[in-house]
Symmetry: C2
Subunit: 285 residues, 2 copies
């Protein structure tokens, strides 16, 4: 049996009882290590689970799936994923491969950032399409996520922005020379995401557009959701560019139209309640 086990978002104890029992039963346990991270490292998980973990990077999952699935028809193998196994990244490839090999699989769900963001008080069913904001480089500054945010806002919907993670990236030089030397991991902060959005708004104005999303749009910055040191800050997009949220992982929400109850919840996390009052777009029903 292949178990796809969600680890939740905080630390070792965010695994479900069912998940923990499965992990302890398995012969091999892989930890997916490229789409998200917990606030604790591999060692803390190993100690709590009482199992050695094999780190599975993207290369391994994509290119060595058969190694990963070896003998999973006769023994139990677990694939651990931060959040939910079908959260921000689906692991459909692995499931399809298992099915083709005749290996049964079971999903053990957990919270993912896709539903845990509800803790800020915005209603999950008022979110439109989720977007990913990628790190800009000197030569590559995509803006397509902004168009999706605009579309959601025009429909009154909130937008969850998942922020870029760069793990096991090679510098151009190392890549060209075929050297497997990796840069330190980078996690986009709410500040960086807000700065990129502000830059796009400026660009659009230079092009004569009048974006729905402005410096004054109410946003929510979230850091380490589900962890003991979780931090949530609500304020204008401008304020998000300088708010202090600490270490990764960060997420950003650009709000649409808010229900009064949503607004009241957000105020619990406001960086500055006065500017907040004037800039929120409220639903009157």
């Amino acid at each position: 049996m292949l178990y796809l086990v969600g680890l939740g978002l905080g630390d070792a104890k965010d695994i479900t009882v069912k998940g923990l029992e499965a992990v302890r039963r398995c012969r091999r346990v892989y930890l997916e290590a490229y789409t998200s991270v917990l606030t604790v490292g591999k060692e803390a998980l190993e100690e709590f689970y009482g199992k050695e973990l094999i780190l599975a990077d993207r290369e391994m999952v994509e290119q060595e799936a058969d190694t990963l699935l070896k003998e999973a028809d006769v023994c139990d193998v677990a694939f651990l994923v931060v959040g939910d196994p079908f959260g921000a990244t689906t692991h459909s490839d692995l499931v399809l491969r298992a099915v083709k090999l005749g290996i049964p699989y079971k999903v053990i769900h957990n919270a993912s950032i896709m539903n845990a963001v509800g803790c800020c008080g915005l209603q999950l069913y008022s979110f439109g399409e989720t977007v990913s904001i990628v790190f800009w480089t000197d030569t590559w500054k995509p803006e397509s996520f902004f168009d999706k945010i605009e579309k959601n806002r025009r429909s009154g919907m909130h937008t969850l922005c998942l922020l870029d993670i760069k793990v096991k990236e090679q510098s151009l030089e190392n890549l060209m020379k075929g050297r497997k030397i990796y840069e330190p991991p980078r996690y986009m902060s709410v500040n960086q995401a807000a700065e990129q959005l502000l830059a796009i708004i400026q660009n659009r104005r230079l092009q004569g557009e009048k974006p729905e999303t402005t410096e004054n749009t109410i946003c929510v910055g979230l850091a380490r959701v589900g962890a003991p040191d979780e931090k949530i800050a609500a304020g204008t997009l401008q304020q998000m560019s300088s708010v202090e949220l600490g270490g990764p992982l960060h997420s950003l929400i650009v709000t649409g139209t808010m229900h009064p109850l949503e607004l009241e919840m957000l105020k619990l996390f406001s960086v500055d309640s006065s500017s907040f009052e004037n800039n929120a777009c409220q639903r009157t029903t």
Copy 2:
């Protein structure tokens, strides 16, 4: 401390280790019993948690929140919610009440239907606004959810349809006479939801419209997601009106444009692969 603890979707063991530790520490433990249900009853939970649970219906949470929060500033109280505490229903009211009373609170997240639906292979970030499909009565047949589905489909987005739950409903007669006699709980099935959607499509055609969503639109019926007897069926909307999924809870997804990988995953659950091929709208990128 007020703990808002998500129970996940299946049975007693879907609670997280952190959640279980919190529950066992609490002086009073309430079980929210009006927005969702697990596949096991209160007694099974009590036995596993080693705690007596107090059932909290909507009336109690809305009208007797202060009783619920009594002494939560000096002792630990838990409020258990099937799924995630901020999933389909947010419990913002309770949180705001606690904050006003100076009671600290902590959220222990878990999977909710809002993210667990990813198990069918459709990507969560390709979902638009979530809708609720309510039971029609002889005199009340709202169609507003259909317009949201149409809007999502026009943008290529999938729609998660949460299906109605009627718990502790009174008959009109008992309500008028002030008798607190309740009807048996009712849970909308995928069949019923599909029938209502098909009826709306007919209505719209009679009005001269040409709906995006038709009898042949690929849909996914999900039952008891996360439980050992979970069932997923993918097929046309017409097929959803007769597919056999067993007991509650059910959810329905109306697909938008699909990525080839999403389509390949859905085929694992197809009721009839031939009709499937012709009716899916694929994304070519």
